[in-house]
Symmetry: C3
Subunit: 169 residues, 3 copies
Amino acid sequence: MSPGRRGTGRAMSRPEQRLAELGPALPEAVPPVGTYVPAVRSGDHVHVSGQVPLREGRLIAAGRLGDAVGMELGYACARQCALNALAALKAETGDLAAVARVVKALVFVASTADFTRHPQVADGASDLLRELFGDAGRHARSAVGVSALPLGSPVELELLVELHRPAHG
Amino acid sequence: MSPGRRGTGRAMSRPEQRLAELGPALPEAVPPVGTYVPAVRSGDHVHVSGQVPLREGRLIAAGRLGDAVGMELGYACARQCALNALAALKAETGDLAAVARVVKALVFVASTADFTRHPQVADGASDLLRELFGDAGRHARSAVGVSALPLGSPVELELLVELHRPAHG
Amino acid sequence: MSPGRRGTGRAMSRPEQRLAELGPALPEAVPPVGTYVPAVRSGDHVHVSGQVPLREGRLIAAGRLGDAVGMELGYACARQCALNALAALKAETGDLAAVARVVKALVFVASTADFTRHPQVADGASDLLRELFGDAGRHARSAVGVSALPLGSPVELELLVELHRPAHG
């Protein structure tokens, strides 16, 4: 699969072009809130640190699913987490076209003990990844309900992606 | 280690043969409950999505450890999660004999705040993997207690396995 | 980067030397509390099983952050988890100088629903890894709040590291 650059003046890669078409601009990578880094490349893979739904420095929601946070807002949080993960990924790789495959997502949803719809919340991240990367965005996933998340976030997303191997020669 | 096919008419691989000896038939892979896929191959590894203890379309138990779900049932849930993970793995690889090593299991146990025996629950999955794969089934593992899981499941299991490299030539 | 052995009689690798300078001796690897193994090597990576803050066979604290366990003790727990992870890693690799990069940490913090400072707890592990490995200790990380952990532990740490490829020839 070619990265799919357009023959126009703007050399915007396919996934970033699709992102622009969808509306949201890719945010700046969010600075870590601890002594770690946003993403680490190891071999052909990039491990993206857990992302919370910060937008311009503020959480777009706080609290738990099943309590203060409804399904629509939870879905929007997961989508924002994915945007922030992509920002971290772009900061690490230079271009989202470097992504050969989204391998796995781990989605933590802050939820009450009787909440059961974690997958529908997590779809906010998964849907965006598939919209941007097509078949290469189809990933394995776990979604679970946790007692609390950093800053009071309703959702946290960790991502593993595989990169294209650079052509050698 | 050779995959260990028997010289009989039935070309059943070693792990699947052991599974048949243990009793449970390998179920059909469970369809994802969201916009992700059951398993993704990346290089020599397969990442299996979080599995809940569905059997023929229904959870074999619901609720939390330390509350409605006892140890024996929790252990059975973890075992069923492992069966479903193997079904997803077989759907991805064609044959469980492709597995060179079970690398890591991540086991989420829905539990009350005072429950402490998550490892004994998780052993339901680990024991099955070791019964089927022998030394190649010895894996790293984390087991933690979470507030809630999709569908009200007591256990969710995520699995990472390494495949045999195909002989080239 | 050379592993940095000293030209003295004691062939102590750089990270183990730094550990000795910091004070804590590397503990013995903690035996698993279930049917799994402390660490698994797969390709160039080692997956270290979830570690709880056992020291000489006893948890250094029990309970939840936001409740019985304060920030300083939580931080110390995360640091002890990291020491135990390094012990498991050394048992698997023979020498911590084999570590090319700490890739990812997954930190589970047992916490109440209103606790939000999971990253500051997790820094107890991350800070130690960076003290010992320098730039190679800079890792991706997720930190989340869970309802309970094995044995009543306040923190559990899972680690992924990349090893140096052996020179061939």
